[in-house]
């Protein structure tokens, strides 16, 4: 390589670095992380860091599914209700009907897939817009679980179920190991398989994708089923962690999850998204929460910061596409 080529390459690297979508979320994350570390030395201890990762995991698991859904130009508002319903399914199976844990967990996953399939059916067969279809199931699923539990928790879960949410491997909670694996697998699927490629293509331009011979209805349907399974997984870990099925589990989670995706650079308009960005977005929400508590700042202010960051993330997204300067 000639000497002249080196600076050009380096400049290219710098430009590339700042055009990476995830940078928009990574920098605020680092800033908040450093501020939190400075304001309280307990913040940066291993147990606290692991606690934050664990708290991130539930949002992240669901946000992975949401990344695929949003990238494919869909939306799922019912995820919080689906997570909550998983707890009730587990409670009913294991506590009311005495079904062994080894059977109850696959059944709960199946129930998640079914809940997702209902969304997929409404959206791809009945052609109800995703916002409306999943707004309806957001209420319906929550209503069903509230009706079944009559508003009281189902508890306690059997002892052999607790290990999932409370067990450790090499000193690290199972759920953290799980999100590490999920991160790798989901990144691979999104970037290196036809499934991920077609999802992004569908989000970018559904008609062109269909003309390329891809069955976009089936693809879309499968995304909602996958979302349902991921909600079930999050619900299983959550229920196991707290050994009870709370009727309020997952309330408001859909907005947290969507916020994590948007902060992480997933486009609400489809076609763009990354799992790394979503992880950063999910971490951001938890670090902000934890950091502000440790800095003795009222939790009420958090939501204002989250709102500001969402606006900044979207403005960066629009600026990058040139939409801000475009005149209609």
């Amino acid at each position: 390589m000639s000497d002249a080529a080196v600076p050009a390459r380096r400049r290219n690297f710098v430009i590339r670095f700042f055009t990476i979508r995830e940078i928009g979320a990574l920098i605020p994350l680092i800033v908040i992380f450093i501020l939190s570390a400075l304001s309280n030395s307990a913040f940066i201890t291993i147990p606290n860091l692991l606690d934050m990762l664990r708290a991130t995991s539930y949002v992240f698991i669901v946000a992975v599914g949401m990344t695929f859904i949003l990238s494919g130009r869909g939306l799922d508002l019912s995820v919080g209700s689906q997570v909550g319903m998983t707890g009730v399914v587990l409670g009913a199976l294991m506590i009311w009907w005495r079904i062994p844990t080894g059977f109850a967990i696959p059944l709960a996953l199946l129930a998640g897939a079914a809940a997702g399939a209902v969304n997929g059916f409404f959206i791809t067969v009945l052609r109800i817009p995703p916002f409306i279809a999943t707004l309806a199931t957001y209420y319906s699923y929550r209503g069903i679980l509230s009706g079944i539990t009559k508003g009281t928790p189902i508890t306690p879960m059997p002892a052999d179920f607790k290990f999932l949410g409370q067990g450790f491997f090499l000193g690290i909670a199972y759920v953290i190991w799980f999100i590490v694996i999920l991160f790798v697998v989901a990144t691979f699927v999104l970037r290196k398989t036809k499934y991920g490629r077609y999802t992004l293509a569908m989000g970018g331009n559904p008609q062109s994708t269909r003309l390329a011979g891809i069955n976009i209805d089936r693809l879309s349907f499968s995304l909602y089923v996958m979302m349902g399974v991921l909600c079930a997984i999050a619900g299983i870990f959550f229920t196991s962690r707290f050994t009870s099925a709370q009727p309020t589990t997952g309330v408001g989670m859909e907005l947290q999850v969507i916020a994590a995706c948007i902060i992480g650079g997933v486009s609400l308009f489809g076609g763009v998204g990354s799992i790394a960005g979503t992880l950063i977005g999910s971490l951001f929400l938890v670090v902000l929460n934890n950091g502000m508590i440790m800095a003795h700042i009222s939790g009420y202010w958090q939501q204002a910061v989250i709102g500001a960051i969402i606006i900044i993330a979207v403005v960066i997204d629009l600026a990058r596409k040139g939409d801000l300067t475009k005149k209609e």
Partner: protein, 277 residues
Amino acid sequence: MRGLASGPFSKWRDHRVAEPDIILEGRNLTKMYGGVEALDHVTFQLPRHEVVALLGDNGAGKSTLIKILSGAITPSSGEIFVEGRKVELTSTRDAKDLGIETVYQSLALVDCLSIEKNIYLGKEIVRKYLGVEVLQNRAMKKGALDFLRGVGIRIDDPNRAVEELSGGQRQAVAISKGAYWTDKILILDEPTAALGVRETGRILSMIQQLKDKGLSIILITHNIEHAFLVADRFFILRVGEKVGERKKGETSPDEIVSMITGAVKAAMDGRAAADAE
């Protein structure tokens, strides 16, 4: 129902000698929408290694004809021959399998994907590892850029999404999306619409290069100047009927315009009326 011989435009009926090597032919194609004839007994021939410009005003039946030839719609009556063999085109998939690729300019590209992801969309190169199909992004990028270079299109930064490319580059990628996948027949729908002068030049030279590579091309356009730059032949439709067909050496832009608009007939009628006085 009017046949060719009795139609109002029969005076432009073709007197050409039979072509020996017709790669694609639609014979007596008719398409009815409700009671309306969008296409009325039109016979269209695409000679091998030629560019045929399909010309006509809005509503002339151009898009109905290419939709039939690309398998997107089936004709009410008529037959289609590919390389002399009678074929049934019930879907675009059938047409693609026979080597007929169609590029609809407005629908060709997924803006948020990069060049090679667009060109290979639906036909990705994969390798199996432990039973899992893994996309071979590097091989696809190389294939796409080599192809573009081969037809005279240079792309500085192949990693960019196509929405960030110039209009001409986008069009080149769109055409490649069809041209890459066939060595026979390429149908281009308005490839030079909404392009600047220089970019139009690039696209026309790309079409020329694709022809030199051995493709037979149907070019739908409104722009007669562009048609004259690359087409070997002109095929003119008006209100669903074939007006005529001309070889490039044997016609002029003026005649083609008259055929498109019907002005020749009107002018001649006018002269006849004047003579009679």
